[in-house]
Subunit: 321 residues, 2 copies
């Protein structure tokens, strides 16, 4: 497992349990599927979403077994979207490992992702209320609209900050928010508290995605485990570039009007974005969401999870991978 | 709508209602998704699976509104698998219309299929028992294993009849079976009757897929609305060819050992399969499943649906598209 949770052995132990549940739930007589998905589970990831389910559950009647199953569902949904996302991005690497689409082909990857979605809803039906099955399916459809929106706005120079934020809310923050909400409601927290938890998740999720997009500009390839400028090469314009485009920098517009996203041009664009201080501007926006998260966390009832949420929100803002 | 249900105006009227429900449930602020899915719904299809939900519901307390919603869910699942199936097959046409993957690209098609799956589970959570949510998700994962099994056994000369039957049970018959089962249980039929209905669906589904595979050999391109030999060209070996391969025909083995599935060779293979009477043999197998369906139908309590099930089983066996 990723070292992210090393300081929180209690959470880490539960996350190991979640990994076991995920592994049990990808068992299949079709061995190609099983092997591919077991490998994906083993490849790590920070498991932030399932950890948020657990942390939120602590504000109610904490039922470890149930919450671990729900955490597994949320992480499996995330994994399924990653598998399909890698098809769209034609990605070769994910978490430093070769992607399913690259190893087995896009054809396998399509149905492997579907299989994982199906297993999520199967596991979900074990012990969740109907309302939350509806919430999960709503978030899955929002992730899809976010992904399609991102894909259809590729290479578009006039994408606004508002559109960008709407897109990342759908493709990322919605699932963070749901993780907290489900952890709360399914532990018997009332609607007000669960919605408060959802706001914590939403704002941390927004900051998380903005930082992710910043790391595509400034990340160390060995730490981030994917080449710098990956988004740019695919025509996905994220916050740092959107800010830069608003500045009418002639050199930037000239290079971008070439519509040639070769290594050389990508590096030039990244340089200009840095020079225009748009990394700093994007970081400030991420910080704004983290601050909002802090405010929502501070309103939660006092318990151990509260300080962990604070720590994690801070840690995710400052992360380098 | 397809003319398939013209003789059954009562069913046809309900199917129009199902189409309306499907259309309501693909509404989305992301207009590319909405337009693509509305077009797919309008492109027709026989709507056999939702009709089976309705017919089975007649054996219990028939609640038209609820059954139409469930029928819409089943058809939307079917449509989602078609969208993803067309990605794998690289199909240009479906029901005589250009496919989503061909019109919008594979990238869009991946998330459009996911979106549809998500909307299915959303609609499903409106009024179904938890056990049936589990059943639906199990069938979706079975369809995926069937599709992956089919894909991974491409170009394999030693695929057995048993493997073929297992594959089509997963990718096709399971959803037919579920349609009947859900129509029954969700109308208050007891488990014995619902399982009897499931057997009717399963056997009609098996015959349906075998006939589908036969039509790839003998179908009229204008009626079937896809070119003859499509499966063969993709290395998907179905029952007629599997029977032929078992006959050790030297000419067939010679052509196939070339591994060249050009138009010329495909037509030669089809000719040999016909000459060896393997179309007839495959038809006999389809007939065997239809007969089994007849036996199970005859055991159902007497009502109007019973004779319609008999008619439809016969009609699907004799269909030419």
């Amino acid at each position: 497992m990723d070292s992210f949770w090393n300081e929180y052995p209690e959470i880490k132990e539960e996350l190991y349990r979640i990994i076991r549940i995920m592994k049990e739930n990808v068992r299949c007589s079709q061995k190609t599927i099983e092997t591919a998905l077991l490998n994906l589970i083993d490849s790590g990831g920070k498991l932030i979403r399932p950890a948020f389910v657990l942390l939120s559950g602590k504000f109610g009647r904490y039922d470890s077994e149930k919450l671990c199953r729900l955490g597994a569902v949320i992480e499996m949904i995330h994994m399924a979207t990653l598998i399909h996302d890698d098809i769209v991005d034609d990605a070769g690497l994910r978490r430093g490992n070769i992607t399913i689409q690259s190893k087995y082909g896009k054809d396998y990857a399509v149905f492997m992702g579907d299989f994982l979605f199906a297993r999520c809803f199967n596991l979900l039906s074990d012990d969740i209320c109907i309302a939350n099955i509806r919430n999960v399916s709503k978030v899955v459809s929002r992730i899809c609209t976010g992904e399609i929106e991102q894909f259809s706005s590729r290479y578009s120079f006039n994408i606004s900050v508002k559109n960008y934020l709407k897109r990342i809310a759908a493709k990322t923050a919605a699932l963070f928010s749901l993780s907290c909400y489900i952890g709360g409601t399914e532990s018997g927290c009332d609607e007000t508290l669960s919605k408060q938890l959802a706001k914590v998740g939403y704002n941390i999720g927004m900051a998380f995605q903005i930082i992710d997009d910043i790391l595509d500009y400034i990340g160390d390839q060995n730490t981030v485990k994917k080449p710098v400028g990956s988004d740019l090469r695919q025509g996905i314009f994220t916050l740092p570039l959107i800010y830069a485009l608003q500045m009418d920098n002639k050199e930037l517009l000239r290079i971008m009007s070439e519509k040639d996203y070769s290594d050389d041009n990508v590096l030039k664009i990244i340089e200009i974005v840095k020079e225009l201080n748009c990394i700093g501007k994007a970081k400030a926006t991420a910080k704004k969401y983290t601050n909002r998260a802090f405010i929502h966390i501070s309103k939660l009832p006092d318990n151990n999870s509260k300080s962990i949420f604070m720590d994690i929100a801070e840690k995710l803002l400052k992360r380098e991978y």
